[in-house]
């Protein structure tokens, strides 16, 4: 037995630095280098206040990216989250204000509604096989359109409220509450992805849907639930946004869906499904937030910021792919 141990041992050693691990190490290195560069180039980068500001902008992306990671691991995509955030911020303001439902009920209905809209998208995918890109493209148009239609694209104010002030504000000392929500939900989703039968079924369905069906996994249920997740967390971010803006806004969270997808993909999750990690997404979220923050601090022209972001995101994924190909040369 001892003689045969050397070969498997070598295999484990190579496995320990598989594509996922390489990606994590690479991302950490990239974040460290980026932070060092920015602290040299941008004078205020190292301040505590700036760190909180980075965390706050990371929160909107991150909260949704946790659920989005499971959507993409399942081999699906959800591009409707930006408009969903805007729509639910408006709905919350409408329900709490003009519709006179009261804030507690409005909050509950916002969360339930967010989950239901997501589940509906998942149902269309699971039941009829409508590609999730198409379903969520429809939602992307319809949710933003409905929010703008209801409000004429004007902000809908909500009366001052302690809870909304809290959720949209900061802890004593300045730590943003939304970042706290992000971290708590990260732990929740880390647990879901790694330690629940639902989470592992998501990986199974994304890795091989037919084998999953033949193994007795309820594939349709898994697909519906992953979209329920993004819908629900988009509503959460909608509530946070309403708190921060003290009202609903149909034009909020513009382009958020692309930041979310970029963070997930930079984090090493495969768009073809089956492979991805919450830790990778966390690093991806930090990476994206750092770039956004750095470009602002360095005073780069706001239009040109998008150009830089675009190049950096594609470059990061490209490097990631090249690294993983070197890590496992025999896989295509």
């Amino acid at each position: 037995m001892d003689t045969s141990l050397s070969a498997p041992a070598k295999a484990t050693a190579r496995r320990r630095l598989g594509p996922q691990q390489l990606n994590i190490i690479g991302l950490i290195a990239a974040i460290v280098i980026l932070a060092i560069l920015l602290s040299i180039l941008a004078p205020h980068f190292g301040s505590l206040r700036n760190a909180y500001s980075i965390l706050q902008s990371a929160a909107d992306v991150g909260i949704i990216a946790w659920a989005g990671t499971l959507v993409i691991v399942a081999g699906e995509i959800d591009i409707s989250v930006g408009p969903a955030v805007a729509f639910w911020s408006v709905m919350l303001a409408e329900m709490a204000g003009p519709w006179k439902l009261g804030l507690p009920l409005a909050l509950v209905l916002t969360l339930v509604g967010g989950g239901l809209v997501g589940a509906f998208a998942g149902w269309l995918r699971a039941r009829f096989g409508v590609p999730s890109f198409v379903v969520t493209l429809g939602l992307w148009l319809a949710l933003r359109g409905q929010a703008e239609f209801m409000t004429n694209a004007l902000p809908v104010p909500i009366r001052d409220n302690a809870f909304l002030d809290f959720i949209g504000g900061a802890l004593p000392g300045g730590f943003p509450v939304s970042a706290l929500v992000m971290l708590v939900l990260f732990v929740v989703y880390l647990f879901i992805a790694r330690r629940t039968s639902f989470g592992r079924s998501v990986y199974a369905v994304g890795g091989n849907a037919r084998a999953a069906m033949l193994s007795g996994i309820k594939v349709a249920r898994v697909r519906i639930l992953v979209f329920l997740g993004t819908g629900l967390l988009a509503a959460v971010v909608g509530i946070i946004t309403a708190g921060r803006l003290t009202g609903g806004n149909a034009t909020a969270a513009d382009g958020l869906e692309f930041d979310v997808i970029a963070a997930i993909v930079v984090g090493g999750t495969s768009l073809s499904g089956g492979r991805g990690s919450m830790l990778g997404t966390l690093l991806g979220v930090i990476f994206i937030a750092l770039i956004g923050n750095g470009l602002v601090l360095m005073g780069v022209n706001p239009f040109f910021q998008h150009v830089v972001s675009g190049i950096v995101i594609v470059g990061a994924v490209l490097i990631n792919l090249l690294l993983s190909r070197r890590a496992s040369p025999d896989s295509v």
Binding site: T12, R195, T196, R200, Y203, G207, L214, G216, R275
Partner: protein
């Protein structure tokens, strides 16, 4: 064998080919005359595919030469063989379903006029080609709307373009229902009557008798014999294919016990058009073999029992309940576990570890209320790995990195984890090395001894006598024969599976 005075269009002279550790062809001489339909027979691994690959230029012989229409093929490769008029139609069709017949006919070489792709000219030429074969199809029909037989004929018609001299058909009827076969045979006869040499690989003797004049039988890389089909009985062919060394090492010696309780009772099960009215009783503790050539309906039978396909009729009763057509989850709940034929496409989760590939069939056994216990997963996986002797560094290793044999053990372990009592194994030894095969046989016997019912499907008929208490032979979607241990013998199975009575 050739008509006197006709030069052979295919002339293979003394060809040998060796792969890493297999002698695939040994000094093969093979001639086919223009207009002749030559059947090519042999078990898996007898050398048929290698010979076909030589003729189509995909492989170079180590010794000897391939001469096509008087011209040595040399190192001209696939393109050279194509120029000399050789076309091969494989089992897997290479048509694009969303495009029309005409577009498929000209795939990649679409006719063009000054105004772009010339659809009218393509349609006209396609219509002419189809007419030539007496095929009544509209060139504008999308291929996806055609039945498999018609698709097969489009594939054949496509090969007719240019100067076809040699047409190689690799089991062209294996995916067809019995009723559609004659259309393909008519087309083959039509093509041969135009002077094309046809090499027809098949295991269906009735077809061979209807379409071929002569048959060549291969075994262990050698061409054993070429004889007129009329002089070959089924027994002759079986003897030639198996040779004298066909006696199995260790057969199941004892006849099955008749007093074992029936676990699954199948009556009148049909999956149109591939499976007709199958009755069978599966008993606890027995290994039931299903023998049949490709396309005999064996996969459909397993899938209908396991709830993967809804049968068009009949019942599958287990514990007094009919589960026919009620889906995979109901079947699994009743203790049925299917290991699919295509392990890679349908069986494994390539990116997940061995452990999760095993426990995926029942998460509840390794957790509570949907929360998994890593320790329970690990101990379940490790004990299954030990029981099935799965070789890997740890239970977390991605399954895609394992050998075929170890992957198959993991897929089987999945159903042991789910405590399935009825195991349906579809080609479990395909792509599995010799050592792992022997382990799988032993494992199957052991599982039966613990009271499981096992259905063992294999196209390698030699292995059935070693594992099965009882073998049912499927032919053309029907059960045609039952052989019980200790009388299960490869030659009897092969004769029954290929026979043409």
């Amino acid at each position: 064998m050739n008509t006197p005075g006709t030069a052979s269009v295919v002339d293979v002279r003394g060809v040998s080919k060796r792969y890493a550790n297999v002698q695939a062809l040994v000094d093969v001489d093979f001639e086919v005359a223009p207009g002749e339909v030559r059947a090519l027979l042999g078990k898996n691994g007898a050398g048929k595919s290698t010979l076909i690959r030589m003729l189509s230029g995909a492989e170079l012989p180590d010794r000897g030469e391939v001469v096509l229409d008087g011209v040595p093929l040399g190192t001209a490769g696939v393109e050279g063989a194509r120029r000399l008029g050789v076309r091969t139609v494989y089992q897997e069709l290479s048509l694009v379903g969303s495009m029309t017949i005409a577009e498929n006919m000209f795939m990649g070489r679409w006719l063009r006029s000054a105004r772009g792709v010339d659809y009218r000219a393509m349609a006209e030429q396609t219509a002419a080609a189809l007419r030539r074969l007496d095929i009544d199809l509209d060139p504008g029909t999308p291929v996806s709307e055609l039945g498999i037989a018609d698709q097969q004929m489009v594939e054949i018609a496509r090969s007719l373009r240019d100067d076809l001299k040699v047409l190689i058909l690799d089991e062209p009827t294996s995916s067809l229902a019995a009723g559609e076969v004659h259309r393909v045979l008519d087309t083959v006869n039509q093509i041969a009557s135009e002077g094309v040499a046809v090499i027809y690989v098949s295991h269906r003797l009735d077809e061979i008798r209807r379409v071929a004049a002569t048959a060549s039988v291969m075994r262990d890389g050698r061409l054993v014999e070429t004889a007129p089909v009329t002089e070959l009985s089924t027994q002759d062919v079986v003897r030639m294919m198996l040779g004298t060394a066909a006696q199995e090492v260790s057969r199941v010696a004892r006849p099955p016990r008749a007093d074992l309780p029936v676990t699954v009772c199948v009556r009148g099960l049909a999956v149109e058009p591939k499976l007709q009215s199958v009755d069978l009783d599966l008993r606890a503790g027995e290994v039931l073999g299903l023998a049949g050539i490709l396309g005999s309906g064996r996969t459909e039978l397993l899938q209908a029992v396991a709830g993967v396909v809804a049968p068009s009729g009949g019942s599958v009763v287990i514990d007094g309940e009919d589960i026919a057509g009620r889906g995979v989850r109901v079947a699994i709940g009743k203790g049925i576990g299917l290991t699919p034929e295509n392990r890679k496409e349908d069986g494994i989760f390539p990116l997940l570890g061995i452990d999760e590939n095993m426990v995926v069939s029942d998460w509840k056994a390794v957790g509570r209320l949907g929360v998994l216990s890593p320790r329970a997963i690990s101990s379940a996986a490790v004990s299954l790995m030990r029981r099935l002797s799965v070789k890997a560094a740890s239970s977390h290793v991605e399954i895609a990195t394992l050998s075929g044999g170890n992957q198959q053990k993991v897929v089987l372990a999945r159903w042991l984890h789910a405590r399935s009592r009825v195991l349906l194994l579809d080609e479990p030894t395909r792509g599995v090395d010799v050592e792992a095969k022997a382990q799988l046989y032993a494992l199957v016997r052991e599982l039966a001894a613990t009271g499981c019912s096992v259905v063992f499907v294999s196209s390698e008929l030699e292995e059935l006598p070693a594992v099965c208490d009882r073998v049912l032979v499927l032919r053309g979607g029907r059960l045609v024969q039952e052989i019980t241990a200790p009388d299960v013998a490869t030659d009897a199975l092969l004769a029954a599976a290929m026979s043409d009575d």
